[in-house]
Amino acid sequence: MLRRFNYTGRKRIPRQNVPIDIIKSGDGIYEIRATFKFDGLALPKSARVYVEAYKDTYYRRYNFGCVENIVTPDDLKLTGIDDFNILFRVKVVDSDNEGVLLAEANRISPIKPGEETARKLSLIWVTGVDLGNTIWRLELSDESEWPILEINQKIEHITEIAQRDSIFHCLVFPEVIRKILNHAIFYHDYRSPNDADDIWCLWLKFISGLPGMSFPPEQGDEQELHDWIEMAVDLFGKNNEFLRKFEIETSFGGEE
């Protein structure tokens, strides 16, 4: 049994209540637009509201006044950012007791220019590196914000292969899922998507949402947790028809 106790009474702001858009201003520079809905959270009217943009080591903070009187800052520019793979967090901070975090929403994915709704959040990143004689490797270090699938950049068209090739998917993705779930459950000790607000819990949510899957057994012993992971890997393969696709791709035409 695992429990996290929040002693400061910090509240979680639903992400859909604080959507953030990225727009292109008249002078061609990208800026953010944010709207806030704090209904039902019973936050003090004087509490300060901040939006933070972050990506790897990139960080910008915008002061939006207070809960009662949201004031859009003059400078909303996202300077120094050349793509939209950026995330945001909204923080509501006690104005009397400086530094006390009253509420927050983390990992808000912005709505890009041209999009009408928030995009899907990718759960794994991919990068090409020199892996010697290995085709792929999964990077799951604490240093990394996200799981990263490393693919050998010495192989021609490897990016396209990783994205579209059925055989690559059939052979690689089950092991990717197995490794990520092992990391979430046995390294981070998570059992539910609500255990924390990070990528590993989003993975538990993603997997638990597969048809036929439930959350990991909260009080399960090690063997039960391994069984749950294997069930997830199998169901993912079933939903994506890996067996059938692999047989088609590897069959020798004309030999029937």
């Binding site: 049994m1 695992l2 439930s214 909260e218």
Partner: protein, 455 residues
């Protein structure tokens, strides 16, 4: 007498503690150095010590391991001390089998070639290449180092990022790196001791050369002429030689505080280091990962990270990220999901765990037959990683009674670190633990076994 801590060792099947003292043992006093002139003279004579009143360090090993040969000592000196020898700051004389081999600036390259046994020619070649790289660096004028932006100048934890390099530096260095040219980078870093206002500026040097023929990369860390042999700077990256040199006094002192007694690692949990510096662990990581991270920056194409490449397969709708029990997020869009199989029967809840003022309470669920042995692990929550693995005695320690506990109908078998072990006597069991920092979240993990354990 310093920190003369070796490893736990065995002699004639008897295990000995790692602390070795050649000292006077008087009553209950700690071991004291000998200052009897006659005794010291006799000692020097018995063990052929040549140092006569000069400052320095002499080490006598009365029982060296029999399988260590004179050539092994030469090889070890070459591998661990080639840098100060090349700098002409160290000369090693090895006397064995009636001869003296002097390892110095002039003889080191020949000895490097001659001393490795025939079955270690590959290691010899790699050591020779590393030695060449070091020799190049030692003669490099200061103006030829590429000085990057300082890390930690803004008060944040230092972290490797492309922005530390100017566009011009990146373009030049990437080309040089790809060609296999040698690269020397000076990495400035700011840090601060806790409870001090003053910020210290320091730096370290990183020397790199890509060599696709060497297979596994080779890294070498040198602090104040000492090789820190247990650090691997490249992870699994291949085909790069790298040397990190820390000889600036302030940074060298910081790293020295984190060094284990055998001088093989930098450990952020070291007693002399922990809690002494702002962002201390990040500074260690910044130095330790420098070779790997610079390699990544110089070898990856600018658009190397594809964040949305597999979005169609592994993604979650941003609007659904907060819906705790939603089951729609994982399936393939558009197709109605098949009906789920019936869930397995839930496991009984033997204990009820709840939050109380500055702590938590565990009680037995009276509807169930309670397991006899209950293990409780507690840790302060962390933003990244497993909090139980990041627990430190500086957070709290059940063993030193800073936390209060009140236990009913159970016996406390163990209270040590962040672990409590309890033998539950009846279903009226209750345990309250209080005294945690109210400004931090805590994570509590209960594990138990239905079988009675031998406590």
């Amino acid at each position: 007498m310093g920190q003369s801590i070796l490893k736990i060792h065995k002699m004639n099947d008897t295990k000995f503690a790692p602390y070795g003292h050649f000292a006077l043992n008087v009553d209950d006093l700690p071991p004291m150095p000998c200052d009897d002139d006659d005794y010291i003279t006799e000692f020097c004579k018995d063990f052929h010590l040549k140092r006569n009143g000069e400052p320095g360090l002499s080490i006598v090993i009365p029982y060296p391991a029999k399988d260590i040969s004179g050539n092994d000592v030469i090889l070890s000196a070459l591998q661990h001390y080639f840098y100060p020898i090349l700098e002409d700051r160290l000369i090693v004389d090895v006397e064995y089998a009636g001869k003296t081999v002097s390892i110095n600036q002039n003889t080191i390259l020949d000895l490097m070639e001659a001393s490795f046994p025939d079955d270690q020619k590959e290691q010899a070649e790699k050591a020779g290449k590393l030695c060449d790289l070091a020799a190049w660096n030692i003669t490099l004028p200061d103006k030829d180092y590429v000085v990057i932006q300082p890390a930690g100048a803004d008060g944040y934890a230092p972290k490797w990022k492309r922005e530390l390099f100017s566009e011009e530096q990146l373009t030049t260095l990437q080309k040089k790196f790809e060609r296999g040219d040698r690269i020397a980078i000076k990495a400035p870093i700011y840090f601060k001791r806790k409870n001090e206002d003053k910020t210290t500026k320091s730096y370290f040097n990183v020397i790199l050369q890509r060599d696709k023929n060497i297979g596994k990369s080779i890294s070498h860390f040198i602090r104040n002429e000492i090789t820190i042999s247990g650090i691997r700077g490249f992870g699994s990256r291949k085909g790069v030689l790298g040397i990190v040199v820390i000889d600036e006094k302030e940074l060298s002192g910081l790293l020295g505080d984190s060094e284990n007694p055998a001088h093989t690692e930098w450990q952020y949990k070291s007693k002399k280091f922990q809690g002494k510096y702002e962002n201390g662990a990040s500074i260690l990581r910044y130095v330790i990962y420098s070779l790997g991270k610079i390699t990544d920056i110089l070898s990856k194409p600018v658009e190397g990270l594809h964040k949305d490449l597999l979005k169609d397969i592994f993604s979650i709708d941003a609007n659904e990220m907060d819906d705790d029990g939603d089951k729609d997020s994982g399936g393939k869009g558009g197709e109605p999901p098949p009906p789920p199989p019936p869930p397995p029967p839930p496991k009984p809840k033997y204990f009820i765990l709840s939050k109380i003022e500055s702590g938590f309470r565990v009680i037995a669920n009276e509807d169930e037959s309670t397991p006899e042995i209950l293990n409780i692990h507690v840790a302060y929550e962390v933003r990244k990683g497993n909090p139980f693995k990041k627990w430190s005695p500086y957070d709290f320690d059940f063993g030193n009674d800073t936390l209060k506990h009140d236990i009913q109908n159970a016996e406390l078998l163990t209270k040590d670190g962040n672990h409590l072990k309890v033998k539950v006597k009846t279903n009226g069991f209750s345990l309250k633990v209080t005294g945690f920092d109210k400004n931090r979240d805590i994570r509590v993990r209960l594990t138990y076994d239905k079988e009675v354990e031998n406590a």
